[in-house]
């Protein structure tokens, strides 16, 4: 058996690879290179002068308390999105796993939110949470709670977390359900005979067997919260009030396209790139090795 495919023609393999390579080069490598180059420059707001400053943009960033605030916001936001999204999804999946009648309809309904674009999801939640016309603040008012996420930073964070996590629940649900259904019933029956209560059966038998799935989802959810929630934040809080929901990605946009600090914005992108590369490496390394039984 040959391990490698053998092509008689020298050029053909390159032709076959070309579409993928061109897409990667044009849309990924080139912009990434541009960002990296850009991060070493300081350009005035009108584009009249450009100066090559090596790491000055980075040094400035790392000394900026605003930047560190954004880092903190991002971590809190990501952790909450991942936790809320995963816990609710696991709960739903555990219940869907027991459903006998109408299981497929139930599953289909749970998967729908994933088809909703992030911005649309955000607008839905924005309407529901809107302090002046939203239905949720109206109900909360009945309990004497005055909801206004335009002024209360905790409430603003709650809105963006809910809007972001809501969408991700479907995705997590699918993976958890598949994971649950892959666990042989006899394992749970054996545990029942072994005298484990339903609670113990879940935490000592089912959950450990789901841990590879859970770890994979944790990484995916964090990546999602880091990089794909721009639309949600842009449509609801615009990073406010103050900077209380300004995540790293939102700050890249604001500093670059609103503040026109292109060099600083590019430096932030480079840091984000490093983060995403690290997360990917962690995922590949550990998903297959460490979280295994």
């Amino acid at each position: 058996m040959h391990d490698n495919a053998v092509f008689s023609h020298k050029v053909l393999p390159f032709f076959l690879l070309a579409p993928q390579l061109i897409i990667t080069l044009v849309f990924f490598i080139w912009p990434a290179g541009q960002a990296l180059y850009q991060s070493f420059l300081i350009e005035d707001a009108f584009g009249f002068s450009v100066e090559f400053v090596w790491f000055e943009n980075f040094i400035y960033l790392l000394e900026d308390p605003e930047y560190w605030n954004s880092v903190r916001v991002t971590f809190v936001f990501s952790a909450m999105v991942a936790l809320v999204g995963m816990i609710l999804a696991l709960l739903l999946a555990a219940m869907a796993d027991r459903v006998v009648k109408g299981a497929s309809a139930y599953k289909t309904l749970l998967i729908w939110p994933y088809a909703v674009a992030p911005v649309v999801a955000a607008v839905l939640w924005w309407l529901m949470f809107n302090p002046s016309m939203g239905v949720l603040p109206f109900w909360m008012d009945a309990f004497g709670y005055d909801w206004n996420h335009y002024v209360n930073s905790g409430e603003a964070m709650t809105v963006v977390v809910i809007a972001s996590a809501w969408k991700q629940i479907s995705y997590n649900f699918l993976f958890f359900l598949a994971g649950l259904q892959a666990i042989p019933r006899s394992l749970i029956e054996a545990a029942a005979i072994d005298g484990a209560s339903p609670f113990k059966r879940f935490w000592q038998i089912v959950f450990p067997l789901l841990s590879p799935t859970a770890f994979f989802l944790l990484v995916v959810n964090i990546v999602y919260a880091f990089f794909e929630t721009f639309g949600v934040i842009h449509a609801t809080t615009l990073g406010g009030p103050g900077s209380s929901t300004k995540t790293l990605v939102y700050k890249v946009y604001e500093d670059g396209f609103v503040g026109l600090d292109l060099g600083g914005s590019a430096a932030q992108s480079v840091i984000l790139m490093i983060i995403v590369i690290t997360l990917t490496v962690v995922q590949f390394r550990y998903v297959e090795k460490k979280v295994q039984y």
Binding site: L187, I193, D194, G195, Y293
Partner: protein, 360 residues
């Protein structure tokens, strides 16, 4: 030390399908009862009801004279060995065996002692710190057995425990299970679809078909005096031959040319052209001289097995394919005409309409 009694047990699923109909069984202390039957006959369902994994929709189940219908599986003091072993993949062999004891709050040093002793009996001491994924099929089977015996339960339940093993290992583990069960003298219920396994393991054998018990008894009794045509066809390999016939008193007409005179006082004397089925095992037709033969078989296919040779051919004047088992030392060729004599003492007659045994 325990007895198990099933009294009028019924199982009807939510969709109306009745899996078990009025099952009555009494399992005595220390007995190995084997449930055998084709898939879908309800044998696994019965076992799972004893285990408490399946609800009982009618009747009463007693373990040691205590009604256990409404007890949780863990409260019935049973241990079960599953077909796929059901070992916890994230736990070591030790943890797998200790899990049931741990849940029952047995002190740590006692768990240690019990697991080590069980491991010693099963010769898996060197595997205690491995995970199930690192073990071979036979080793996993031992661990599953270990998990069952370590708790010293009242009843062992086996759900086709050997069907995932290869043929050689299956024979070896079969002997081991028998040895262990006798050593511990624990009451056991064993479910299988393999009739060889059933015959060799059982103290008493229960043959089931479509949710009903066909016959209960010691394996040899079922083999020699099957109560129904189903039992006769299910037990024994190669399977029993069945031939349509009509009975007049003791005169059995198989075809225009073949008529057997039986000598069974218990056959219905008033039988007149009664439609019956003759059952005769392949090993109970002897090769003989043409003059003494009941019929000659034109050999259509030959399967030499070494010790014996199986010969297939059509019973003369009919379209029934029958099998004859002959000693392996003799050479046969296709088209060979074999003169055969039916052993009168080992003829089984069944009523064609009911499938029930006729005569003794």
């Amino acid at each position: 030390m325990a007895t198990v009694s099933l009294k009028n047990i019924n199982k009807t699923y939510a969709n109306g399908h009745q899996a078990i109909e009025n099952l009555n069984l009494d399992i005595t202390d220390g007995e190995m009862l084997v449930l055998v039957g084709p898939s879908g006959c309800g044998k696994s369902t019965s076992l799972r009801m004893v285990a408490g994994l399946e609800t009982i929709t009618g009747g009463d189940l007693y373990i040691d004279d205590v009604r256990v219908n409404d007890l949780e599986p863990s409260e019935r003091d049973i241990a079960m060995v599953f077909q796929n072993y059901a070992l916890y993949p994230h736990m070591t062999v030790f943890q797998n065996m200790a899990y049931g004891l741990k849940n029952r709050k047995v002190p740590k040093d006692e768990i240690q002692k019990k697991v080590e002793k069980a491991a010693e009996i099963l010769e898996i001491t060197n595997l205690l710190h491995n995970k199930p994924g690192q073990l071979s099929g036979g080793q996993r089977q031992r661990v599953a057995m270990g998990r069952a015996i370590v708790r010293n339960p009242k009843v062992f339940l086996f759900d086709e425990p050997l069907s995932n093993l290869d043929a050689k290992l299956r024979v070896q583990m079969r002997i081991e299970i028998k040895r262990l069960q006798q050593e511990f003298a624990t009451t056991a219920i064993y479910v299988t679809h393999d009739q060889v396994e059933a015959m060799t393991l059982a103290d008493r054998l229960v043959v089931m078909n479509e949710g009903n018990v066909e016959q209960v008894g010691p394996p040899i009794e079922l083999y020699e005096k099957p109560a129904t045509q189903f039992v006769a066809g299910f037990l024994g390999s190669p399977a029993m031959n069945f031939l349509d016939a009509s009975l007049n008193g003791n005169r059995l007409t198989l075809s225009a040319d073949v008529v057997l005179e039986l000598n069974d006082p218990n056959l219905p004397a008033d039988a007149h052209d009664l439609d019956v089925v003759l059952g005769i095992r392949p090993e109970h037709m002897e090769a003989c001289e043409e003059a003494e033969a009941d019929f000659t078989l034109s050999v259509d296919m030959i399967e030499p097995l070494g010790a014996d040779t199986l010969l297939y051919g059509y019973f003369p004047g009919t379209e029934s394919l029958i099998t004859s088992e002959q000693p392996g030392k003799q050479q046969f060729k296709r088209g060979h005409r074999l003169a055969l004599r039916v052993d009168r003492e080992r003829c089984h007659l069944f009523d064609k309409a009911t499938g029930k045994r006729l005569g003794s």
